[in-house]
Assembly symmetry: D2
Homo-oligomer: 310 residues x 4
């Protein structure tokens, strides 16, 4: 029994790892990779997603670019974290696959409506594509099986401003639309993913196998790990996006509880801050599911197989 | 030489009159009518647009529903102005035409890209459809010939709040996206359209001809005129949307000058207010074209032919 | 029967004219002049008020500086309108009077509480002093006879941004506090004062009398008139502040009607815009009095006597 | 060598304990207690401060009421935390001392200007009084020795909303004014004070001595401890305000580091949130001192003497 997954990305180093984990996981049927701007501009993200899939021998999976600008705010990218190309020092060969013409927004809508109750949307980028899909075709709200979102910093400092996590900061209006949409959401915030680490030792161990994939991972993460070493003082990197993807087929990795999460989108100072209004005059009833723990000890075994030679 | 027009609407009484004027005007090739929520919810608007076209014998023209909710704000409709059905007291027969499946957003994108430099988009509704089209496919920005927008109250009181005109108030975020998009815009604000009046005498004169169209117009505008009589004290109604449509083929009806128009979308008190920042610390360079006058004496002669028997 | 008046100012050319009109008017007992920053910084305004009173031979009237910065926004002054000194080209001699030590905020509070029901506060500057007085001693709310405010642009373009009048723009938070305070307010907005004009011909006629006061007026207004000529194309200047002062003893110069006026203070784009919420979802009950007309034909005869030799 | 202290309060249970600690500490010369609304309305806070000082035999110390409403937001009090009276179940006898007429704002200004470089202002309430003092008399900025503020939640959940601590939530505009004023500030946030606990066992131990003061403390804290037990699940209460007061004479209780702290005051969702902008596009240079630790082991020995019989 496999899970049909759409992966909405801004690749992005950890997005690339999530794509590799998805295609390495027999539990996942990857229906498509959609892309928006975030870690890097849209065109770079589409190229990176295509090249990573080609590296894994899965150019059959459609990669569809969606929206290239946040709804309201100016685009904010993260070249200092993901490198100018978006995948660190990695320079994989160009994918030979033909371009898919479908817009990422439409792939999301079409897939969900064609497979009602079956598609898990794993969104590991600014939520612009998802928000526009929700507004363009609200029937997906009841037709989607689950939406797993990597985003937000609820009770931890952010990673982009001192309050806000990157994905919610880049497009807080989109995050607002999605969180208020009524879709069944599981939210994996930076509070948790910052503790799910790929260490340099992990990468070194991996590199004993020599393959285009392992070389890509080494080159991509080396940049990311250097950034983490400079910013946070340890030789490793958070693997936010693969951690979200894993929940699509290993939901009991996580302990979740329902809570209401809102996103600030009007103030510059607090833009992108995600808020659980659980006390005080603005208390809100819980609704979406938020994660309060993540069992990394049960981390999917295919994680290392993801890095196998193609 | 005809002008290819897409009419983006929320019908709505004056939207219906704009549709009738468009199909009555040989200068206009109406490529499609797209619909969003505004004067009435989306489904009602689609029905009204279809029925009006059927009444005019033009069910061949596609009517495509687009987005049903504003981007960020809750939906605000205007049943007190346009009646519960959206077309006042009129109850035209249901259109027998098959439904068009294309989303209004996609019709806008496809038409503009298929006919680069040829399509005039006349937007007489909250700008949600247009904003999402711009974000989904930014190539339309350079491919569209002109965007004529009925919206905003620049130097006049609004018609929905004391500051804001209806279309900009309902979706100020969409108005912001469109005004900042870089498309070639002509803005016909409420400042001007409030003085372009259809009087009860005009309607009475029209009713000497008996036809389904004239009966529809009489029944639709009677509600609207009663509203204007109660609200503003005269027996007539502003015909905002036909006035915008007329500019597609009679551009010299208007005197325009370039100015920069911004829209307030963060504050509840001033939501939807359109601002020309021409003095003071926030002065901005002119860009889009705004109207400063409108020559109603040259009002299109087909206005009365629009009301001819089908 | 005289009216006890406190004049809260930011002199300022028209503030200076208001001071001169007050001391020339037997109907007015000028209890004090308080000063805040606005047209010029606080220290300049205090100096200007003192010098104008000395010129008029009324150094007995206390001039008390109050607050030097707006509550929240950075200070914004108007040297292009009032000159670097605040009184155009005029350079009156320094007042020999000793400085008054009382803070302007405290003078306002003390006067109103010592003379309950008798003091008319004429506020012709950013409302910072008045707002802080209200917060510091709310008993003045019921003890003041009337508050006449020059400020706001309700249904006209502003004079500082395209939406906002200077006094409300400089400190919109203070304007909010005062308008919501419950004090009996008469609001004289820029809508009206922009049409109350002192022409170059008026000034020339005045200059047939040679006195320090007439020379001051000529030198002060020459700068102001040049500004108006450049900005608005006519040789004259709006005399906003004297027009407000005149209402203290000639209330029937004005036609007033109650309305609720709110001020925008959260958004940069619309900061300082004053709003009458009379239609739509945010409609508010009328409360403060707003002016809808002003009978300049009955302009106080002492206007020219104000310019008499000291 | 004593420290001259003004204590700005909203008593309030822990404010009352701070007053008792101040008068029990020979290192402190308590120049005055000023009061604003917060935990309870102004009049109740003044009464409570007076009664607590009378209980301690120090009715000679002036208690001066200041501002009764936050600058902009509506008043929000905390009867569920501090009881209807503001001091839990305690009902101390009414102070026989005559009322002091000076406004709390003026006491703050006068004391600081009369003793330049000597006065430590300990502010343990919404910062309304301090903000208005700063605006009314900016010379206090350079004349005050130090401002110790209990307020804000920097990297912890708030205690009033999920983001905001009570004092900053009640008047975020005032907090903004004070934090941006340039005064030398030490900020003791809720991050730290939530861990400085008075336990039921502490109170029981104290009650072995029978005196009006110990009975007051028992009756006041019993309410507070019951609230903490219900809200947080332990029999004890945070003693935020005494912890701030103690820093006036035991500054090395705390480890501080400079950082820039801003306060959100425009958005309802995030109102009162205090932000250290240390990463990302809005990074700000450090300025005020923030606490990163507090050595409760060195908690002042007079803490228990504060509870001695009067
Ligand atoms: Ca990502
Ligand atoms: Ca319309
Ligand atoms: Ca003035
Ligand atoms: Ca307190």
């Amino acid at each position: 029994m496999t899970t049909r997954v759409i992966l909405d990305t801004d690749p992005g180093i950890d997005d690339s790892l999530a794509i590799l984990l998805a295609v390495a996981s027999p539990e996942v049927e990857l229906a498509g990779v959609t892309v928006t701007s975030g870690n890097c501009p849209l065109a770079d993200g589409v190229r990176n997603a295509r090249n990573v899939l080609a590296l894994a021998g899965r150019s059959d999976i459609p990669v569809c670019g969606g929206v290239s600008l946040p709804l309201i705010r100016p685009l904010y990218t993260a070249p200092e974290t993901h490198g100018e190309s978006g995948v660190g020092f990695a320079r994989p060969p160009e994918s030979p696959a033909p371009l898919h013409r479908e817009n990422g927004v439409d792939l999301i809508i079409r897939e969900i409506l064609e497979h009602p109750g079956e598609v898990t949307l794993v969104a590991v980028a600014p939520l612009t594509n998802v928000a526009i899909a929700v507004r363009k075709e609200p029937r997906i709200i009841n037709a989607v099986r689950e939406v797993i979102i990597m985003g937000g910093a609820l009770r931890a400092d952010g990673n982009t401003t001192s309050l806000a996590e990157f994905n919610f900061y880049v497009d807080p209006h989109a995050a607002h639309i999605v969180l208020e949409s009524g879709m069944p959401i599981t939210l994996l915030p930076w509070d948790i993913t910052q503790h799910i680490i790929l260490t340099q030792a992990d990468v070194d161990r991996l590199n004993r196998i020599s393959s285009p994939i392992t070389r890509f991972i080494a080159d991509a993460t080396r940049f990311y790990i250097e950034f983490h070493l400079a910013a946070f003082g340890f030789a490793g990197c958070s693997i936010n996006d693969p951690a979200a993807l894993a929940l699509a087929f290993l939901p009991d990795l996580a302990r979740t509880e329902p809570m209401h999460v809102a996103v600030e989108y009007t103030s510059e100072l607090t833009a992108g801050k995600s808020v659980i209004s659980y006390i005080g005059p603005a208390t809100r009833e819980p609704d979406a599911h938020d994660l309060t723990g993540y069992d990394t000890a049960r981390w999917p075994p295919q994680w290392r197989h993801a890095f196998r030679p193609a």
